[in-house]
C-alpha cells in the first residue's frame, strides 16, 4: 500500500483555501442521512462532535469517563497559541508555522503545520464566543504571554487552567448538540474494536463499563479522538485512564501508526516518591524563568533540600547554565530533560537519586518572596501539597516525566488514516508536531482538528461514498468483531494468574523508560524488545483479573489497556531502533555531535515512519512518507 498524504498542490499559503474549495460538499438535506461516530471527548473529540452535529450529521460520541468533561485535555495548564498578533510584536501565521516546524525538528509536514497556524486565529474567536474566560488586560481586550521560549507573545491563557476552560467550552458546545438531539452521548463506554468492511471503517464495538454489555455501532465514518499513549511508560503526566486501546485496535485493523517513538518528556515534574507512585505531576515550565537547576558537583546520595541550602556555591553544579551559557535554564524541554537524566545517571541526583534541584533562593533574594509568590504561588502550593515540603525554604526537586506523544495514527492531509472512513484527530494522530511539540500547541491542534478541519474534510469522503453506502450492525463483520471482543474479555478473566495488571504495567513502564525514554541506543532498545516480548507472553498466561464481565470491573478495563500498551511498546522500540538519528524528543546516543548534542540525519531520515500491522507477533512493516520542505531551510538546533 502506498502512502498518499493528499497534500494539495500550490503555494503553501493557498493550499488549505484551495483544498477547501476542491472538497466535495454534502447536500444540507442529506446530512441527516449520515451517521458519524466520535470516540473520545477531549478537545478534538468534543469540538468535532459538536461541529458535526451543528452541520446536521447524526453523531454518536463515546467516552470511557463518567462525563465528557473529564477528558485529560482538561489538565493542560499553560495556554493555547494563535497567530493573532494582538501584541503587535511581529507574529504572523507564517511565523507560527515556522516556529512549529522548527520546534518539531523538521519532522512534520509543512502543509499541515501551515494550516494549523492558519486556523489558530479562528480558534480563539470561537472559544471567546462560547464564553471561555481568557485572561484579559484592564482595557478589556485579551491578554497574551510568551510561552516556552517563543520570541513573540502569542499564547492565550486562562490562569493555569487553559485546558480546562477550553475543554469546558467544547463540552458546552457538545452539550448543546446533545440537547438538540444531534449528538447521542455514551458515557462510561469504551471502544474495543473498529469494524472494517470492504476496506472501509463501518463502525465500532464498545463495552458498557457499568453493565459490561458489548455493543455494535455502525456509521458512515469513525473519528478517533482518543489522545496520546504516554501511559505506556506507566508513570506519566497523563490521566490514569488515558490509553492507546482505540488507536491500537484501529492499527490492528489496518491503520498505520506514525512515528510511535516520538514522545515528549517534560523537565519540570515532581519526582517519584516511592513504588506506590501512580502518576506524575507536571509543574509549568515557566518555573525555569526564575529557578536555577543544579546538582552537587560530587555525588551526595540522598541529599535533601534543607541540607542543600548549606552547600557552598563552589560545590554546586548549575549544569544547564554551565553547558548552555546563552539559554541557560531556558533550554528546550528535551535538552533540559536529557541533561537532568545525565547528571542523575552520573550518580549526582538528589533526594531519591532521580531528582535535581530547582532553586529559587537567588530569585527570592533578588525580587523578594512576595514577588515570587505572586508569580508562582499556585505552583509552589501544589509542590508543597504533594511533597509536604516548603519550596520557599529550600530548593524544589524536579525530574522529567513523559508528557505528550507526538506519534500516533498516521493520517493524510484530510486527517484520514490508511483505513478509508477512519479518522484520527488531536493527540491521537501523528500529524503536526513532528519530533517535538512546542508549548501551548497541543490545545491548538486538538481544537483545529475538531472545529476547523474535520467538518470540511469529512464531507468530501461522505459525499464520495454516498449515504446509502452503509453497513448495518447485522452484518457478519460486526458479529465477528463482537465475538472477538467477548472472547478477549473472557480470556482475560480466565487466566487467573499470579500477577496484578499494575505489576505488568509497571514492568513495561520501567523497560520503556529505561531503554526507550529520554536517551536511546541500539543495545538498550534490543534489550527492551526482548523484555517486552517476554512480558507479553507472561501477561497472557499469568495476569490476575478478578470480578466478572457483566459488571463495573476496573481491573478488567485496565487489563485490556495494558495488553495493548505492551504491544505498542514493542512497536515504539522498533521505531526507535529504526530511526538511528537524534531528532526532537528522540535522542539516539549513537547520533550526537562531539559536544554531546542531538544530531539529525536529514539525508536518511527526513520522513515520517508509518508502521503497518502484519499479524500477531509479526514484525511490522515500515512505510516511509518522505517529507518535502519547500519553504523552510533545515538547520540543526543549537542552544549553546
Amino acid at each position: 500500500m502506498k502512502l498518499e498524504s493528499k497534500i494539495p498542490e500550490g503555494p503553501l499559503a493557498e493550499k488549505w483555501t484551495k483544498h477547501k474549495f476542491n472538497l466535495k460538499l454534502v447536500n444540507p438535506a442529506n446530512k441527516r442521512k449520515y451517521d458519524v461516530i466520535v470516540v473520545g471527548t477531549g478537545l478534538a473529540g468534543a469540538s468535532a462532535a459538536a461541529s458535526l452535529g451543528e452541520l446536521g450529521y447524526n453523531v454518536k460520541a463515546f467516552c470511557f469517563q463518567d462525563s465528557p468533561r473529564r477528558a485529560h485535555s482538561i489538565a493542560a495548564q499553560g495556554g493555547i497559541n494563535a497567530a493573532k498578533n494582538y501584541q503587535n510584536d511581529g507574529d504572523s501565521v507564517y511565523r507560527l508555522f515556522y516556529d512549529t516546524i522548527k520546534g518539531g525538528d523538521y519532522r512534520a509536514r509543512e502543509a499541515n503545520v501551515y494550516r494549523l497556524a492558519e486556523v489558530s486565529v479562528d480558534i480563539i474567536d470561537q472559544c471567546v464566543a462560547q464564553g471561555v474566560p481568557f485572561a484579559r488586560e484592564y482595557g478589556g481586550l485579551l491578554a497574551n504571554r510568551s510561552f516556552g521560549g517563543a520570541q513573540v507573545s502569542r499564547t492565550f491563557y486562562a490562569r493555569g487552567q487553559t485546558g480546562q476552560q477550553l475543554l469546558l467550552g467544547a463540552y458546552s458546545a457538545l452539550n448543546r448538540q446533545i440537547a438538540n438531539g444531534k449528538v447521542k452521548m455514551y458515557n462510561r463506554t469504551e471502544m474495543l474494536d473498529v469494524v472494517v468492511v470492504d476496506g472501509k471503517a463501518r463502525g465500532i464495538i464498545t463495552r458498557d463499563l457499568i453493565t459490561g454489555k458489548i455493543e455494535a455501532h455502525s456509521a458512515h465514518a469513525v473519528l478517533l479522538c482518543t489522545g496520546g499513549y504516554g501511559n505506556v511508560f506507566y508513570l506519566s503526566t497523563n490521566a490514569k485512564g488515558s490509553n492507546v486501546t482505540a488507536a491500537w485496535r484501529a492499527h490492528k485493523k489496518g491503520a498505520f501508526f506514525g512515528n510511535p517513538c516520538f514522545t515528549q518528556i517534560h523537565p519540570t515534574c515532581i519526582p517519584v516518591s516511592g513504588t506506590h507512585q501512580s502518576k506524575l505531576t507536571l509543574m509549568s515550565e515557566s518555573l525555569r524563568n526564575d529557578g536555577r537547576v543544579w546538582v552537587p558537583k560530587k555525588a551526595m546520595p540522598g541529599l535533601k533540600s534543607q541540607e542543600a541550602m548549606k552547600l557552598p556555591e563552589s560545590e554546586r553544579d548549575y549544569f544547564l547554565e554551565r553547558k548552555y551559557p546563552s539559554f541557560g535554564n531556558l533550554v528546550p524541554r528535551d535538552v533540559a530533560s536529557r541533561n537532568a537524566k545525565q547528571v542523575c545517571d552520573e550518580g549526582r541526583g538528589v533526594g531519591s537519586g532521580l531528582a535535581v534541584f530547582l532553586d529559587f533562593t537567588d530569585a527570592i533574594k533578588r525580587d523578594g518572596e512576595d514577588t515570587i509568590r505572586a508569580k508562582y504561588g499556585n505552583l509552589f502550593d501544589m509542590y508543597a501539597q504533594i511533597t509536604g515540603e516548603n519550596p520557599y525554604k529550600g530548593p524544589m526537586m524536579i525530574y522529567p516525566a513523559v508528557h505528550y506523544t507526538m506519534g500516533g495514527l498516521w493520517v493524510d492531509y484530510n486527517l484520514m488514516t490508511t483505513v478509508p472512513g477512519l479518522y484520527a484527530l488531536g493527540e491521537a494522530n501523528f500529524s503536526d508536531h513532528g519530533a517535538n511539540r512546542l508549548g501551548a500547541s497541543a490545545l491548538m491542534q486538538g481544537l483545529a482538528d475538531g472545529y476547523f478541519v474535520i467538518p470540511y474534510t469529512i464531507g468530501d469522503y461522505l459525499a464520495t461514498i454516498g449515504w446509502n453506502d452503509k453497513v448495518g450492525t447485522d452484518h457478519p463483520a460486526f458479529k465477528e468483531a463482537m465475538d472477538g471482543v467477548n472472547e478477549r474479555v473472557t480470556k482475560l478473566l480466565n487466566i487467573k494468574g499470579k500477577k496484578t495488571v499494575d505489576e505488568f504495567h509497571r514492568e513495561l513502564g520501567h523497560a520503556m523508560w529505561e531503554y526507550c525514554g529520554m536517551a536511546r541506543n541500539e543495545e538498550g532498545l534490543k534489550k527492551a524488545k526482548k523484555i517486552i516480548q517476554d512480558l507479553k507472553a507472561e501477561f497472557w498466561t499469568n495476569v490476575n483479573v478478578l470480578g466478572g464481565a457483566s459488571e463495573l470491573n476496573q481491573e478488567l478495563e485496565k487489563a485490556g489497556r495494558v495488553a495493548d500498551f505492551i504491544e505498542l511498546g514493542e512497536l515504539m522500540v522498533d521505531d526507535a531502533l529504526n530511526r538511528s538519528e537524534s531528532c526532537g524528543g528522540h535522542f539516539r546516543e549513537e547520533s550526537q555531535t562531539p559536544e554531546g548534542e542531538a544530531m539529525r540525519k536529514d539525508d536518511e531520515f527526513t520522513y515520517a515512519a508509518a508502521w503497518e500491522y502484519k499479524g500477531d507477533n509479526q514484525q511490522e512493516a515500515l512505510h516511509k512518507e518522505e517529507l518535502k520542505f519547500e519553504n523552510v531551510k533545515l538547520t540543526q538546533r543549537s542552544y549553546k
Binding site: 464566543a129 458546552s172 476496573q554
Partner: protein
C-alpha cells in the same frame, strides 16, 4: 504508617451495601489517598478479593472524577480533591471511614463509584451559548472588564466533582449550577440567553431530585476549587428576574 479503613462496599446500584473493614499496614505518608487505595487493591487482588471500585482519572486535581467521602468530608480533611490528599494528613493508627457521595440524584454504581450524569443533564439544559462553529466575531470585538472576566473565571473553574452535593445536608446542587449560570450571566456573550438559561438549568436541577439550598455554606467550605456562594445568590437573582419577566419554558425529564 498503619491505618484501619472502613470502606463502603456495594455490588451494584440495586444491591444493599455495607461497610467492610481493612487493616492497611503498608502506608507511606507520601502516598496520595488514591495511591493508598491502589496499594490496598493490589493486596486484595493477591488475596483473591475483588478490589475496591472508585472513580479517579487525572490525579492532579482538575478532572473532577475522584469522589470519596472521607471521615465525614467530601475529599477528606483538606479543601482539595481526594487525589491531592496525601496520607500525611492522617495519623498512624487512625481509622478512616470512606463512603461514596450520597444523594438520590447520584445513585451508587458500585462500591465508591456514583453516577453523576445528572450534572451533565443540567449542563445540557442550558449551560452553553448558542453559537455554531465559525461565523463568530473577532475575539477582541468583545471587550470584557478584567474584573468581570476574573469573576467569571472564578465561577468557571468548577470541576463538576459533586463535593458540594455530597457536603450539603440537603444534597443540593446549587453551587454547581450557580457556577455555570454565574459565568454566563457575568459575560457579555451570555446575555442573549441569560433568562432562559437560568430557568432551564434550575428546572433541570429540580427534576434531577437535588435538594434546596438552605445556605449552610458547607458546599463552599468543601469545594476543592473555592467556588463562592455569591454565585448562588447571583443565580437566585437571575432566576427570579427570569421567572418574573420571561416567557414560559418547558422542562425535560430525567432523575426524580
Amino acid at each position: 504508617m498503619k491505618i484501619t479503613l472502613k470502606v463502603w462496599r456495594q455490588k451494584d446500584t440495586n444491591s444493599k451495601g455495607a461497610f467492610k473493614t481493612y487493616q492497611h499496614d503498608h502506608v507511606s505518608p507520601d502516598m496520595s489517598f488514591l495511591e493508598m487505595i491502589d496499594v490496598l487493591n493490589e493486596e486484595l487482588t493477591h488475596k483473591g478479593e475483588e478490589p475496591i471500585a472508585f472513580d479517579h482519572d487525572c490525579r492532579e486535581g482538575i478532572c473532577g472524577m475522584c469522589s470519596l467521602y472521607i471521615n465525614g468530608r467530601p475529599h477528606g480533611p483538606l479543601q482539595t480533591t481526594t487525589c491531592q490528599l496525601h496520607m500525611r494528613s492522617f495519623t498512624d493508627g487512625q481509622t478512616i471511614t470512606v463512603e461514596p457521595w450520597r444523594a438520590s440524584a447520584f445513585p451508587v454504581v458500585k462500591d465508591l463509584v456514583v453516577d453523576r450524569t445528572a450534572f451533565d443533564r443540567i449542563q445540557q439544559a442550558g449551560g452553553y451559548i448558542n453559537v455554531n462553529t465559525g461565523g463568530v466575531p473577532d475575539a477582541n470585538v468583545i471587550p470584557i472588564a478584567k474584573k468581570i472576566a476574573d469573576e467569571a473565571f472564578d465561577a468557571a473553574t468548577c470541576i463538576g466533582c459533586g463535593a458540594c452535593v455530597a457536603a450539603c445536608k440537603n444534597a443540593s446542587a446549587m453551587l454547581f449550577v450557580s457556577a455555570k449560570v454565574s459565568q454566563f450571566a457575568l459575560l457579555p456573550q451570555g446575555q442573549v440567553e441569560r433568562k432562559e438559561r437560568a430557568e432551564k438549568m434550575v428546572a433541570q436541577m429540580d427534576a434531577e431530585g437535588f435538594g434546596s439550598c438552605t445556605n449552610t455554606y458547607a458546599c463552599e467550605a468543601e469545594c476543592p476549587k473555592g467556588i463562592k456562594v455569591t454565585n448562588i445568590a447571583r443565580m437566585n437573582r437571575e432566576y427570579f428576574t427570569a421567572m418574573l419577566s420571561s416567557y414560559q419554558i418547558e422542562t425535560k425529564g430525567g432523575g426524580d
